[in-house]
């Protein structure tokens, strides 16, 4: 038994140099595979990110070229500007309006569409169809719905005997109106992900619950929601980040108005950067938004850890 062992050892010594050479080669090979995505990420993500942080520390000219070092002044100016604080408030309100309602709505639809019924495929397609619609197209649809004279929304109100409303022109309703449109746009994606999560739950768990005789509500609370929690967590996180970054529908429906009531941070960044040509301030806002999203996501992960059951 000893002899082959000795042989093996001496062989190991001989090949050690070879091995090191090969390991280095496979290390380089690995980087080679990563190179295309590293290149793309650097060009379109890492570099702009670093550049934004850099610009946020400078006063800039209208071309966006840094002129003088500003330090924290872009930030202090923003934090004492009432219009930026209003933007922050609108953004958080917008997230608050869209995420919980959107996720609950999609969850409800997904639960309905998860039934095994004839023709359910039709409803699944309908419920997820908004996913295939661009923000521009859906915004135009909602523009018509909200139109004060020919819009469907006002017709519905008069049909119920209620007074007509100026949805997008009234500062007290504009943000909610845009939020409703956004919920509608996001439902398709959220619905589809949640339906996928529901279908991943082993049907034998429900059969077992059926034999035990527990109520539908009880099995929803004790089986479906815990089993769906990783998917729900994902969907909530993604919806929140999306909601923080809403731009398209605001640009088309309200352009940040009326009286800045829908001027969420991303729209404010856009206005500062490409209308007022104040790149330094816009960059500072972008950095603040980034920190907000980052913070909220971290809090979410910390809270979620306890509630989410990964299998």
């Amino acid at each position: 038994m000893n002899i082959p062992n000795v042989e093996k050892q001496s062989m190991k010594l001989q090949t050690k140099g070879h091995k090191r050479h090969r390991r280095r080669f496979s290390f380089l090979e690995g980087w080679l595979y990563l190179l295309p995505s590293l290149f793309l990420f650097t060009a379109f993500l890492f570099y702009p990110m670093v550049r934004t942080v850099y610009l946020s520390l400078f006063y800039t000219d209208t071309q966006g070229k840094p002129m003088a070092f500003a330090g924290m002044e872009n930030f202090t100016a923003l934090l004492s500007s009432s219009s930026f604080l209003l933007s922050v408030k609108s953004t958080f309100l917008f997230v608050l309006y869209t995420v919980p309602v959107g996720v609950l709505l999609a969850l409800g639809l997904a639960l309905l569409a998860n039934q095994k019924l004839a023709g359910i495929g039709f409803f699944r397609t309908i419920f997820s169809s908004t996913m295939g619609m661009s923000v521009a197209a859906s915004s135009v649809i909602w523009m018509f719905i909200y139109n004060p004279s020919i819009g469907f929304a006002n017709r519905l109100l008069t049909w119920f005997g209620l007074p007509e409303m100026q949805f997008l022109l009234d500062p007290s309703t504009a943000l909610i109106a845009v939020a409703v449109a956004t919920i509608w746009m996001n439902t398709g994606f959220t619905f589809l992900i949640l339906l996928g999560g529901l279908q991943n739950i082993d049907s034998q768990l429900y059969e077992s619950a059926k034999i035990a005789g527990v109520s539908t509500i009880y099995s929803l609370r004790k089986i479906t929601l815990p089993m769906l929690s990783p998917t729900l967590f994902f969907v909530i996180t993604v919806s929140m980040i999306n909601s923080f970054q809403t731009f398209g529908q605001i640009d088309i429906l309200t352009k940040g108005g009326p009286i800045d009531s829908t001027n969420v941070i991303v729209y404010s960044i856009y206005k500062d950067a490409f209308i007022n040509y104040n790149i330094g301030s816009a960059s500072a806002q972008a950095v603040i938004l980034f920190l907000c999203v980052f913070l909220v996501t971290i809090i979410q992960f910390k809270l979620g850890e306890r509630k989410v059951h990964y299998q």
């Binding site: 034998q204 059969e207 077992s208 059926k210 034999i211 005789g213 109520s215 089993m227």
Partner: protein, 363 residues
């Protein structure tokens, strides 16, 4: 102790919207306290039958009686039965304890009684140290036990099991087989057990039903079925290695098996038959007994017995099972002897055991 319950099935049929009938008229009465095994190859409809009994699916026609109650329209929870699923259906986010007690509140059992029952069941299955763990922290065998404990705590008089051992390794399977059997005896529940494994069926069942393509092949005690298979399907399905069979011909009480092998038989039959013989009934010929010779193709030594494969006809291999250890090699010529009383004959067309056919003729 709960009341024992019988089950009665009358002409159960099940077909799905698209496709053929899965169950084609099942009639069976299951006695109270009986360990009843449904066995058959995959796709024979045995799991479907179990799901019909559980109320997870509706019958297309026919009647189910549980106890003396007409049960066709009862909900699963109203049938007073528990079920163990093939993949155990444990809730991954609950502890073992929560899993075992799941749903007990529905039966209006006090919290204290729930805890007591959970502890009883855990004690019985050796799960006490694991009560606070999650299923993913358990081994396959332990998960299996949790599933069993869940079936026990409800104190339902009937328990259904759908291939509960198929995810375990062979050694553990053998152990759990005897444990489940002992548990069933101790609790006196009526057990309906689905498996595709004929060894499980043979070793566990009080009585068993063999299903093939939605049709009952035979119902009876394991040994009766083994010794008197109703047809060629049952004969080849039950027993490992399976029964050896060959088309043969009977003329004037002489069975012609191959060109150079025929033997006297005492049956009342003329013409073509399928002759069958269990591997253990093909013995080593002693001098003086009528025998035939064959060339060994393969030998499997199992320690206590030896399996010898030989070619009886070109393209048809038989297996003999001899007690003890025999040093044989492929290519050796062996002398073999078969007692004619141990042979089983099936008619050529219907593949039915002629023993049952003559019985039928008498009746």
């Amino acid at each position: 102790m709960q009341q024992l319950k019988a089950l009665q099935l009358n002409q159960i049929r099940k077909s799905y919207q698209q496709g053929a009938e899965v169950l084609k008229g099942i009639d069976v009465a299951i006695q109270p306290g009986e360990f009843f095994v449904l066995v058959g190859p995959s796709g024979c409809g045995k799991s479907t039958l179990l799901r019909l009994l559980a109320g997870l699916e509706d019958v297309s026609s026919g009647e189910i009686y549980i106890g003396n109650e007409f049960a066709n329209r009862l909900k699963p929870s109203e049938r007073e039965l528990s079920m163990v699923f093939q993949n155990y259906a444990l809730f991954p986010h609950m502890t073992v304890e929560q899993n075992i007690m799941f749903g007990l509140h529905v039966k209006k059992i006090a919290k204290e009684e729930q805890r007591k029952r959970c502890e009883e069941a855990a004690e019985m299955l050796g799960l006490i140290p694991y009560l606070k763990r999650k299923p993913k922290e358990l081994s396959g065998g332990q998960r299996q036990r949790v599933a069993l404990a869940r079936a026990i705590v409800s104190h339902d008089p009937i328990c259904l099991m759908d291939e509960p051992l198929s995810n375990l390794d062979a050694k553990l399977r053998a152990k759990m087989r005897s444990e489940i059997r002992q548990l069933q005896r101790k609790l006196g529940i009526t057990m309906i057990y689905v498996t595709h494994d004929q060894t499980e069926a043979m070793t566990m069942a009080d009585r068993m039903m063999i299903l093939n393509q939605g049709v009952i092949q035979q119902i009876g005690k394991p040994l009766d079925i083994y010794n008197h298979p109703q047809n060629a399907f049952v004969a080849s399905f039950i027993g490992a290695p399976p029964m050896n069979m060959i088309p043969a011909n009977v003329a004037d009480s002489v069975l012609h098996i191959t060109e150079n092998w025929s033997m006297d038989v005492d049956i009342d039959w003329q013409g073509d038959v399928i002759a069958g013989v269990r591997p253990e009934h093909i013995q080593q010929a002693k001098s003086g007994t009528p025998s035939f010779t064959a060339e060994v193709v393969n030998v499997e030594m199992l320690g206590t017995e030896t399996l010898i494969s030989f070619e009886i006809q070109s393209g048809l291999q038989w297996t003999a099972k001899w007690q003890g250890q025999h040093q044989l090699n492929p290519g050796d010529i062996v002398s073999l002897f078969i007692d004619q009383n141990q042979m089983v004959f099936f008619d050529e067309k219907e593949k039915v055991n002629i023993e049952y056919q003559s019985l039928g003729a008498v009746q």
